[in-house]
Symmetry: D2
Subunit: 332 residues, 4 copies
Amino acid sequence: MLIVMEHGATPEQIETVVQAVRRLGLAPQPIPGENRVAIGVLGNQGYVADEPFRDLPGIQELIHVTKPYKLVSRDFHPGESVIAVGTARVGWGLPPVAIAGPCTVESREQVRATAKAVKAAGAGILRGGAFKPRTGPHSFQGLGYEGLDYLAEAGREVGLPIVTEVMRIDQLERVAAVADCLQIGARNMQNFDLLKEVGRVGKPVVLKRGVSATLEEFLAAAEYIVIEGNPNVILCERGIRTFERALRNTLDLAVVPYLRQVTHLPVVVDPSHALGRRDLVIPMSKAAIVVGAAGVMVEVHPDPARALCDGPQSLDLAGFAQLMAELRAARA
Amino acid sequence: MLIVMEHGATPEQIETVVQAVRRLGLAPQPIPGENRVAIGVLGNQGYVADEPFRDLPGIQELIHVTKPYKLVSRDFHPGESVIAVGTARVGWGLPPVAIAGPCTVESREQVRATAKAVKAAGAGILRGGAFKPRTGPHSFQGLGYEGLDYLAEAGREVGLPIVTEVMRIDQLERVAAVADCLQIGARNMQNFDLLKEVGRVGKPVVLKRGVSATLEEFLAAAEYIVIEGNPNVILCERGIRTFERALRNTLDLAVVPYLRQVTHLPVVVDPSHALGRRDLVIPMSKAAIVVGAAGVMVEVHPDPARALCDGPQSLDLAGFAQLMAELRAARA
Amino acid sequence: MLIVMEHGATPEQIETVVQAVRRLGLAPQPIPGENRVAIGVLGNQGYVADEPFRDLPGIQELIHVTKPYKLVSRDFHPGESVIAVGTARVGWGLPPVAIAGPCTVESREQVRATAKAVKAAGAGILRGGAFKPRTGPHSFQGLGYEGLDYLAEAGREVGLPIVTEVMRIDQLERVAAVADCLQIGARNMQNFDLLKEVGRVGKPVVLKRGVSATLEEFLAAAEYIVIEGNPNVILCERGIRTFERALRNTLDLAVVPYLRQVTHLPVVVDPSHALGRRDLVIPMSKAAIVVGAAGVMVEVHPDPARALCDGPQSLDLAGFAQLMAELRAARA
Amino acid sequence: MLIVMEHGATPEQIETVVQAVRRLGLAPQPIPGENRVAIGVLGNQGYVADEPFRDLPGIQELIHVTKPYKLVSRDFHPGESVIAVGTARVGWGLPPVAIAGPCTVESREQVRATAKAVKAAGAGILRGGAFKPRTGPHSFQGLGYEGLDYLAEAGREVGLPIVTEVMRIDQLERVAAVADCLQIGARNMQNFDLLKEVGRVGKPVVLKRGVSATLEEFLAAAEYIVIEGNPNVILCERGIRTFERALRNTLDLAVVPYLRQVTHLPVVVDPSHALGRRDLVIPMSKAAIVVGAAGVMVEVHPDPARALCDGPQSLDLAGFAQLMAELRAARA
């Protein structure tokens, strides 16, 4: 940490800061400048909480150099993690995995038809929502455990591992018993108790970035899971909220190559939720693969016009087959 | 809802949309324009999900007129709600209530000293965190139930009702047994299962706005609580996340008079979290009261320089007394 | 400046950075830490451009301590500037000034009627747009010099100094000949050539904050004017663009007390443009004064329902009189 | 336009709105709903200014269906424009063009060496800044006309058309005499007078998106140029400002396929300014081409470590050659 003193800070104020650093067992190193003094804080093993300093008189700014995460960073784990989800392998540099399926499980037939088609087209993981977070309580909230059973059955039938969202702690045991991978939605990215409990379950996790989460917060959220002993976290970029509302969200694709430098955890991209429009899913999926994403997560529905949720952004079965063909072409 | 057709939409495409509206039991009303046709959708009692329409060919845009909330709106509840929190009354037009106390309960002595001082200065409700949401797992996470006991004891001792944050469903019963009011933090504003369960507990709730929540999402989150039978929701503006990072967040004070027109639920303002700096708490609290807020929520600590959390934004005991004096002057 | 090296930076990489600092005539001071080395850069008189360093291998981050402005900061000008606009005085701590008038000058009668009324109600400066920046070319663009003449005439008639927006350099001479104060609109806040030329004109300037300008950029824009020899700059907060679109912009009121610490230039607040709704102008104006603003800038029109521009946010003449009465009450 | 009345609007209020619409020569069409009445406004040929309506009592919301631009939209120009810049052709579906060169022209040698290398590697247009917009006045502001001469000379020597930024109207004639294409920077995207004057010059224009410009504003800015008789506008996405500051800006790549549906003008992508880091330029350029961009605009410098401006985001000559090789591979 660097403590920047004000222009007119007195020698007494500087000394007080120096003593406060020493009281924490750390080593202060004053750096006298032309306009102001700065004090480097040395000797810390991790993130230094700034509370004991920030409140002292004469301080202009506190600058953190160490990050609020450690286990998920490349600094402490230089290699690249490969996450096994049933038969699928998700990792930087591996062939990208398509995670596909309906936004919401609506019926046994719907998810079964989708599963068959996405398996045939080359998907690696089947997705489907049993519990649905919706902005208002008046919208359809999902089929619950009945939907989970349909999803699990469809996955077994076609031989695909499944991923589904969990929203509350008391669902974890029952969902983990049948799902190959748990999903934490964007709205729950900082539901820290849920993260901790998911970290205690021995299942891989897809962690979606909150719509206004900085990358630092995103990685710190992953750290909550990893620190509980579960290193199998797949990060998912799904669009951020900006001033621009022509599309649902702004897909922040540059985070893929950026995060590859920062973390060993793989990143997949969900263009369906980011953009809210089917016609943009194929080009943006290709772009995701081109910039190195470990996979894409897309919504597929046998009849999007009748989907109970997110129809406009869902590919139909032929559309998904086309996506997979284009992705194969893009990689070749 | 209004369905705007594309410039070159064919009569068949228009007819298909008209039929889709009819299938939902609603009344389509085409509005032919010079450049394009629009179709009004009439007869709905609430929010119309747009999935069945959006996917049809020839549609340019779907415009919602009805909102995703109802019970919290003035349209359906023209009066102004008054929420009783123990002996305190929070409502539009009532004398503003100060909710004050430490960010985090650190010890019996700390919360007791704070409680005595804020009571003496005129606070109406004592706040204090027992369970703390922190960006990363390496930061102090609160004293838990021990902290809750200290808070409850301090409240009883000075005769102030207490409010404290709940983060997980299995805490609800035990916290509700001693707290007069539950708080939902900004990060959990869309933790819908927690909202539902809080709605089933017979305790008032302070619901904090998410850092990137639109007002529509904020009110829809409150609707989750109210629809479960708990009408006692206090909304709390605590700053939003914008491109500007000179201060921690951007305090969106205009929402106070705006929300007063839209909802019957009272709004309080938390300048401590919004701004992250003690010196701005007093002016912005005064501004909040001037624009009609039903109260302010501020962090107070007997020794902010040694606070374990949010020290730089905490008032000390004398600072809180000064705030209360200035608020009284501003109202007079 | 502080140069933070990567975790695995080699001694050679560190030495290369040290040499690069020396080549600029500055003094490098390495700060060895447990996890990484940082290098302080000392001896600079102003902002250090980071280009010569950033590109060297082994660097993780460059942290600026010095700001891109100097003349407008309190560090170099500890007092508080008072800007004279004709007979009006605008400054921190002085009685707040109301700058009032129509968005657009529409006719001699309209601006004359407005001028009379705002003068009677206590306004200190008359505003009115002759040249109007509009998002699209199909909207009304103002009356031009004819409008300027009407505005000047009305100001003289009632004895109020006038302020009006300039949009292009070749307007400056003619506008400055009759206006007491020039306004730079939000869209031109970083039109640096216009700023420079305005700096060479001996007239006070109202500089509006760009809708996505950081405070650092805002102050650096003011520096462009001041460095040309014109110290008479009034800063104007008029709302920023955020994800929230329920209101036109988000009025960032906390910048008023914040900027008061950072700069000696006074800040006024324009709630009309920020909020886009007349009913919020009075409460937010009062809040602006309560937090210390040197004035407010509000749109007033004799018949807002027929205004050619910004009608919904314009006060009528009685509304402005009420605003002034409430501001007097708030200050008393 | 659609006028949505409040829940409790009276018949008189509705009638007043109806009459106001008729006074404009337009046709009102009331749409009675269960909860409220809406009034469609028919008969308009273009954008309906909402001022005459918005101010009437009983109105809840005004919803625009027509956009503030027309000439740049696909509705009125269904084909795809091809813009000729000297020997280069820029258009949707054509082979993508690389616009390359230094951020700033620093010397005759620097721009000549760059020109030779980018020509050899396959660039189609040479870029270089003679006049530089900088956040603060203390930074290097470019070589001016001397730099322009060096750029023009280098372009002639290697046989590449050149593009350079114009910042003020009185530069236009002299710059247009030697440049093949004019650039309007992001900060000047809403400098409407500059746009108009550029529209009167018979030269193609690269128009950069403002950092917080909506796509509607972006297209309306292009309309300012086109309406003056200059249809040769190339749009340039160069990153938007969001809450995320890990990278300089957020590159909004999904606007490429989106804008292709909305406008006939081609879109190029500038990843250098968007991201601020050389190592992300190649992957994001490839992604831009994959989603259909008509070209990329990248900064190239013979010795980025000594660049006076934007060194960290500049490719060196070998890096640019690699970029071109990867782009060719991506397209094959």
